[in-house]
Symmetry: C2
Subunit: 247 residues, 2 copies
């Protein structure tokens, strides 16, 4: 059976930024929450996987903000899997206003790792067999290696962050959305004050843990776009690569 998850959220004050626009981190947290609920309906929730010795890992996430929801507004968030392959499962998100205007959407790619070796495995059968809904046109399939992820750069800005307790999720890893918070905090002040994020494209490379030191780097790519990189200071490992577009 195919399941689509729809949740309705009324925006709380602390989910909005200094201009009363919904914060991108609050939106991504709600997307993650709805995805978890949808996965539970399919029998592939976090605990369904954990019982069998597996875990989910987010590999790609591409968010487009068409129009920012504002404080007090009610939004309708829908998510569902769009495609299952040998190694990857794809999931889309749609955010609509009460009158049906498309406010934001996102495409994402997920993989499964075996807990023992902490390495990627082919999707287990109970995941491969699932039936995605076919009502809606899927967003374009995300490339596993987008151009920005192979472009090397020397950063304009670098900022060291220590992973704190409040950024750790129930898997004892850094919550995916916490990286986005750090990345946005490292953007030049004038961008934050005079523009808004229109698009954010993310490649997650490895997990990180409590008290890790992370180096948050960014560079202006064009007049509209920035490139971002988060590196584990000690190991030098890349944790996240990203491209953002501003308007």
């Amino acid at each position: 059976m195919a399941f689509m998850q729809t949740d309705t959220f009324t925006l709380r004050g602390y989910e909005c930024d200094a201009f009363g626009r919904m914060s991108v981190t609050a939106l991504m947290n709600q997307m993650q929450e709805s995805a978890n609920r949808n996965a539970i309906d399919y029998g592939i929730g976090i605990s369904d996987l954990a019982q069998r010795g597996f875990g989910w890992m987010l590999m790609r996430f591409h968010l487009r903000m068409h129009q920012y929801p504002r404080y007090g507004q009610t939004i309708r968030l829908t998510t569902y899997p769009t495609l299952v392959e040998k190694y990857f499962i794809y999931r889309d998100f749609q955010v609509l206003s009460e009158d049906g205007t498309l406010l934001a959407d996102a495409a994402s790619t997920w993989l499964v790792f075996g807990m023992e070796k902490r390495a990627m495995v082919p999707l287990p059968d109970f995941i491969r067999q699932l039936t995605p809904p076919t009502i809606l046109e899927p967003l374009p399939k995300l490339s596993t290696k987008p151009d920005f992820s192979t472009t090397s750069f020397s950063p304009d800005t670098e900022k060291l962050v220590e992973v704190g307790w409040l950024s750790i999720d129930q898997n004892h890893h850094v919550n995916n959305v916490a990286y986005v918070g750090w990345l946005l905090e490292a953007v030049p002040d004038t961008l934050l004050q005079t523009q808004e994020l229109a698009e954010l494209d993310l490649v997650f490379r490895t997990e990180s843990h409590w008290r890790d030191q992370l180096n948050i780097q960014s560079v202006a790519e064009t007049t509209e776009t920035l490139l971002h990189r988060i590196i584990q200071q000690e190991s030098g490992k890349e944790v996240l690569l990203a491209q953002s577009r501003w308007r």
Copy 2:
């Protein structure tokens, strides 16, 4: 007329910590949200005050966690004013589980400042005239200067934090709850891993702004309690004084 605000929240994954317990910052954000809604019913919401050239400032907050709500649980949060005086208005919070168990409660004290001089003023008449509900017994009235706020200490730990964009609210000040996040992040690792916060008592002294450098200090007071202080690095001003109890 007297108004009590009751909101029902089902705990989302990102509102919980690594152990699946509701995070104190998520709870305080929800308390703040419910308080805003209750204030609007009384005609003393943020924008009612702003129109008349006033603003709210939280001065005292005393939180007691009796039993932590957990991921997926539904909680019922009630808040209402308990007493209005010349300079201060008092507000209580209660958090109940679905079966009516008291999970947490909090007492708080608020004052009003004039926007022009940014100084405390006597409560304007439209606030002084309000009628608090009388159904519930108020929590003990908070002292304006609790003992811990006049105890000087040399810190065990100090941590410098820069106020980021995501910590700024629609008043362009640091959100009150952001301070609690920084304070908790600066607590020794073993406390976070092996104990839980039972009580948190806060004295807010001054506001701070985007890009301020804050020095987060703490010291063990007894085997059960810590003292905390947040200082504006440049001006040396005290922003927040606090005492926490752990179990």
